[in-house]
Symmetry: C2
Subunit: 212 residues, 2 copies
């Protein structure tokens, strides 16, 4: 039953297709990505994709899930293993900033472009994106609340809003400014998140050293 080599081949092709789909969808949009281009990139035939997903929409949903997996591996994962409280929050932000510099700024952000692409288009894809962002917001809010215990956040702070800001500001500012001045994007993302962290933690001794 293992049938390891047999099933492994199909799973490998499926996985490679999803990885390529994330990259291509970031360039041309999740809906703008044609199956022909995806098949050409993979070096396979277009119709073969229908053996793995029954429709393009099914492939789009799988692409969103794959992007979530990549995001969690590269961003959330390192942050979760950092120390608790403010330092943990900062470790997460630092990982995200480096991720922006390495992936978002050169090639665009899959979630940002897809989010805005489907914002006014109800349907399964938009629903899936809503779930993803809701989970992400909950996770961010939890991280912020943990940091609050150590840093004495001002009483009138809206914690869910703060979590949203941390997320939206980093991506939006980085991508927006990329159109105007690519070099400024990294500084903006880093500075913006750092400012947010300072507001969150007035005691500078709690922050990592060597930050401008």
């Amino acid at each position: 039953m293992t049938v390891d080599g047999r099933l492994a081949r199909g799973d490998r092709a499926r996985s490679a297709a999803l990885d390529a789909a994330v990259v291509l969808a970031t360039e041309v949009g999740l809906d703008g990505l044609s199956l022909a281009r995806l098949a050409d990139t993979l070096g396979v035939s277009k119709s073969g994709l229908f053996a793995h997903w029954r429709s393009k929409e099914a492939l789009q949903l799988a692409t969103v899930d794959r992007a979530v997996e990549q995001w969690q591996e590269r961003i959330v994962g390192p942050g979760l293993h950092a120390p608790a409280g403010v330092r943990r929050l900062w470790a997460l932000h630092q990982a995200r900033i480096d991720f922006y510099a390495a992936h978002v700024l050169p090639g665009g952000c899959f979630f940002a472009s897809t989010d805005f692409e489907y914002n006014a288009r109800p349907g399964p894809v938009r629903d899936r994106l809503a779930e993803v962002f809701a989970r992400w917001a909950t996770f961010l809010e939890r991280l912020v609340r943990e940091a609050v215990d150590a840093a004495e956040l001002p009483a009138d702070t809206d914690v869910p809003l703060l979590a949203y800001e941390i997320d939206a500001l980093g991506i939006a500012a980085a991508m927006r400014s990329r159109l105007v001045d690519p070099d400024a994007a990294y500084r903006h993302a880093r500075q913006g998140l750092l400012n947010r962290l300072r507001a969150l933690c007035p005691d500078p001794t709690l922050l990592p050293e060597g930050l401008s």
Copy 2:
């Protein structure tokens, strides 16, 4: 020479087409908008559109310009007529927040969706968008600098970054949270911009009254 009735008819049709194009492009994307759907919405034939614009790309560029005009009329205009300094900045923000509640939240934001749609797609449309955002950033930075003279902004503040944040945060936070919780979008946009303004102006007596 007046030729009023002759030219006015064509100009009216052209103007109506651009208004509809902005609305439709906000829904399905600037590139996802088909000429057939635009023609159907207008109740005219598709080929008639080519009498006004020689190609779809020309119509897309005209659509961007039209959206800029609308934005300036509804947002920049009221703000420019407000008192100078912090109050003027707040008047601009207040107009933008109301605009979010009335237009962006129900139907999406043309600039946000189009910006991310074309972020990784070089070409004339992206270049036009870059010009628009560069002008917008310059305008915002000028407004912030005028407010600084009255409010004594902290010395280490990055003014261009602040201008970017004010813009990106409002749109991104509003649209992002719309997917998750429509009711929270207005509060988020208002609270986020208000927080920014408070950081900009530590003296509460300079701020408008009745703000929570």
